[in-house]
Symmetry: C2
Subunit: 320 residues, 2 copies
């Protein structure tokens, strides 16, 4: 079955080649082509499986905001002997601001950040506990010496269902070989935040900017700029679409999928939801595969098995 010579459902294909730079063109395209794109369901195969022998279907994604903070102080790098003690060091100032973004327990310190965060239901916490992901696998994948983060939540909840704030980049002064005893003229940081459902990216952006501005001492100049934002996206995990996906994995991949959430962000999914009112199914066929790192890659056997699974998905979708 599924090879009867014709598609059992209507299919519209949409390609986005700009996802890694924030998809600047697809959102206006979706907004101005709602009739053309109207659909019952959006199917996307971005993201990562839990393990190569354990397919997963993501029913949730986190939103994301990216921002830059710039600190300037003296009009040039100063000799730290001549001026040290009298000038607020911009590298120290950016460290102070970055530190203030978290409480010592690992939670985010931006006032209002958790105001709209809804708790996972006991049923959903139980569902996520079925995902076979443990500290050993986390240790192998990350190489980090110890886990970190909010102790009231499991590993998997922290990585998928809790909002975060990360320093993606930090700079200031001299970082080459040897020493240059300066007070740097400037320093800065790139920050991104992952958001969960009910958090509004625009509101969080405003809270972030207001907080950084409130932290800025008058001994340096601080500017903060939010560059991009996208809301989180969640689709009902008990929908017939998800059921069809489960059946497709059984038949095409030869394994039972688990229902999971992705911790990353696909801003286009939130756009489809808000503009077209469309639920989504995410069937990831990648593994971690060094995403956003050197030697990022994709397994060819997953490509082949993923094709089979997708064909079965259209079949079961037409049956349900």
């Amino acid at each position: 079955h599924g090879r009867s010579g014709r598609l059992p459902v209507n299919v519209k294909l949409c390609f986005d080649g700009e996802e890694e730079i924030g998809s600047p063109n697809i959102e206006p395209f979706v907004k101005s082509n709602q009739t053309l794109l109207a659909a019952d369901l959006v199917l996307i195969s971005d993201g990562a499986m839990i393990r190569t022998d354990q397919p997963s279907i993501d029913y949730g994604l986190r939103g994301v905001i990216s921002a830059e903070i710039h600190v300037t102080g003296p009009h040039r790098d100063l000799h730290s002997g001549s001026y040290g003690g009298s000038v607020h060091n911009p590298a120290q100032a950016i460290a102070e601001i970055v530190t203030a973004l978290h409480h010592p327990d690992g939670s985010v310190a931006i006032p209002g950040f958790y105001d709209d965060v809804t708790s996972l239901s006991p049923a959903e916490r139980e569902l996520l506990q079925q995902v076979p992901y443990d500290e050993t696998q986390w240790g192998e994948e990350t190489g980090a010496p110890q886990p970190w983060g909010e102790s009231d939540f499991t590993f998997y909840e922290r990585m998928t269902s809790r909002p975060t704030c990360e320093v993606n980049g930090l700079w200031g002064g001299f970082s080459g070989e040897g020493f240059k005893t300066i007070i740097p003229a400037k320093a800065g940081a790139k920050i991104s935040m992952r958001l969960v459902e009910s958090q509004d990216a625009n509101k969080i952006s405003e809270q972030f900017v207001a907080f950084v501005e409130s932290l800025a001492p008058d001994t340096v100049n601080v500017s903060v700029d939010v560059q991009a934002g996208a809301d989180a996206a969640v689709t009902p995990h008990d929908s017939p679409y998800i059921q069809a996906a489960m059946q497709a994995y059984e038949a095409g991949w030869g394994a039972t999928a688990v229902l999971s959430r992705g911790g990353g962000s696909l801003p286009i999914v939130a756009t489809f939801q808000s503009e077209l009112g469309t639920p989504f199914v995410l069937m990831p066929f990648g593994l971690d595969d060094n995403r956003h790192s050197p030697n990022e890659h994709y397994r060819l056997d997953h490509f082949d098995k993923g094709l089979d699974t997708a064909v079965y998905f259209y079949h079961f979708l037409s049956q349900n």
Copy 2:
């Protein structure tokens, strides 16, 4: 006078071409050539005058320690969506460590750092208040929006007679154009400290390393390495050598010098003091001149007037 065809005092010349890299060779040379270098006084013309119309004689210099802190976490840069919330971000960790080096009031937080710091006598505080350096000049030289530092001390005391701790460099993750939503694998900082008399560079180094190690959370790997250290140096400001220098400026420069302290460090001065037991006179002929910055330079008219002043110094030295 002073041009009688012969030098009125014996002179030994010593050249150090490695001062900016910590003078790795001159200290062993001084230690193994004490008889060759034996002298009543060391005269050095490094450093900076207060203003071009206000010569100054430095009777004190701060010591210096340089150190690097390295933080490593995950074995590669990680996707902040996939792992954010579970991995301690090394850029956040270095920010936390750097922030902890100071109290909110600007004083250094390293335990024991001030233990051996002696207070300036009321007479010496008064002497330093004669140095015509004010907030306006500081503002023009630095361009910093507001002064910063220990409020119990004057500007000039903070810049010359109080110990400091500065971040000379800070790095971690992605600092290019645009965004890369990663948890960086590593981050670090270069730190230097300026020391005052009675502080021992070796002891402060040990206190610094112990403090950074005590700050290191077990969720990342932290290493700290102190690379170079030199004690502060102070010479009696009421000595006949200083009197001769005052007379030399009157005659050679045509202005009355003030007695001041330099905030920077000349490790060789401390070495001459400890190895040869020799007092020193610092007659700086430079101005700020963008030291340790692009377009560092030296004024030719100061070179000429400095030559005259030095000739008069030898003359008055032989008279006193």
